[in-house]
């Protein structure tokens, strides 16, 4: 029993760091770069994607024995597109302003490789409970990654965070960070940090094994 619990929490935790969709697997980059110009947009996009991930993971997992193998991708895409359409209308109903800021990128969640990838690699092979956990982990990991990028870009590019300014008025904002190229730079920065942390951990492990032997 205890062993099973370890594996289920692992299903959730792996998406947060070890297999983080954006920083480690480099999936779903388009929305990660495109709508991360402010922290708020990043959060909204992350939540919308998490919702789609959860619902599509659940549906694919429930239907996994009914879907014929040859036509599976088309079925997955239909399922995903259904949920994306509902999220699109939901956001439009909640906040028209947000809908305008995110633009076509809500509809483009359909083609986020992360969602199709999880449906194919995980949800189609596991039971609904584990598929939900996996979806949640990946979704939260995706949201966090987007937030990280969004926060850096908003602080440097607009001198604020979630719309509250954090610098005195004399701060010269780095306009480049809000522009498209800033997305690439912020993402590169985070990738460097992740690489550095991974490398440091590997070296530390190597050192301990050397000391032990």
């Amino acid at each position: 029993m205890a062993r099973k619990q370890v594996t289920t929490t692992d299903e959730f935790v792996k998406g947060l760091w070890r297999d983080n969709p954006v920083f480690v697997q480099v999936l779903g980059m388009c929305p990660a770069l495109a709508v991360s110009n402010t922290a708020m947009n990043a959060l909204a996009m992350g939540l919308a994607t998490t919702f789609v991930l959860l619902m599509s993971g659940l549906s694919v997992s429930l239907l996994r024995n009914l879907i014929p193998r040859e036509a599976r991708i088309v079925c997955y895409i239909c399922i995903i597109a259904t949920f994306v359409t509902s999220v699109d209308y939901l956001i439009m109903a909640l906040s028209l302003e947000l809908h305008r800021a995110l633009g076509a990128f809500i509809a483009l969640i359909v083609v986020n490789c992360l969602i199709l990838g999880r449906a194919e690699a995980f949800a189609s092979k596991h039971n609904p409970g584990r598929a939900l956990l996996d979806g949640l982990g990946m979704g939260v990991g995706f949201t966090l990654a987007l937030l990280f990028i969004g926060v850096v870009r908003e602080i440097l590019g607009s001198g604020s965070i979630f719309g509250f300014s954090v610098f005195p008025d004399t701060f010269q904002t780095w306009t480049i960070m809000v522009l498209p190229s800033g997305g690439f730079f912020a993402m590169a920065l985070w990738l460097l940090i992740v690489n550095w942390l991974k490398k440091r951990k590997e070296e530390a492990e190597k050192l301990t094994t050397e000391v032990l032997t």
């Binding site: 388009c30 895409i77 597109a81 083609v111 190229s181």
Partner: protein, 193 residues
């Protein structure tokens, strides 16, 4: 309805608002197949072709959906048409040029989940382009995508031969290059108004 001239639509799609470098559409293939110049050219060609076909199909579907008054089916029907187009291109290519087919590897089926194609279909609908405008827009977008891919591949081929710190190697270096390219493309702002 949109009354922008064809030339300005083309320039806008290809350079000013380049799909990859300004809209961040199609980033996955952009990083995935841009390490060799030759594959980049082929991928650019394939994407341009699929874009053209998808744009025409999307225009027809939109007319139909407007007729039956069901805009909520737009995303589903677009994505289905795009994936069947990709399947068709894949089959054609397998038949006509097996070498190219192998060189494309996994990225040909992945055009289905290439956001640039769905993005193109959605943008042309949102902006209310008519038929010729849509075709010109898709041509511009395709050429812009191929251009970005080829430029990137050229830089990355050179980068491979140089001594890059271990930490930066791979995606991080590619991202920095893309950022600089994107800055370069900002210089086109204001063209074709």
């Amino acid at each position: 309805m949109n009354d922008a001239s064809h030339w300005s639509i083309f320039l806008n799609a290809a350079l000013v608002n380049n799909f990859v470098l300004a809209y961040f559409l199609g980033i996955c293939p952009f990083f995935g197949v841009s390490s060799r110049l030759e594959t980049a050219v082929r991928m650019g060609g394939a994407v341009s072709f699929v874009m053209l076909v998808a744009s025409v199909c999307a225009f027809a579907i939109n007319l139909l959906l407007d007729f039956v008054n069901a805009p909520f089916l737009r995303i589903i029907s677009y994505i289905l048409v795009i994936s069947s187009t990709v399947q068709l291109v894949e089959m054609l290519m397998k038949k006509l040029s097996p070498a190219t087919f192998r060189a494309m590897g996994i990225y040909l089926p992945l055009i289905t989940t290439n956001c640039a194609i769905l993005g193109l279909a959605l943008f042309q609908t949102n902006r209310g382009y008519d038929f010729t405008q849509s075709v010109v827009y898709s041509l511009g977008a395709g050429i812009g995508f191929a251009l970005a891919l080829v430029l990137m591949a050229g830089v990355r081929e050179k980068l491979d031969l140089n001594d890059v710190p271990d930490l930066v190697k791979g995606t991080a270096a590619a991202l920095i290059v893309a950022g600089i390219l994107s800055m370069g493309f900002m210089g086109f702002a204001g063209l074709g108004r």
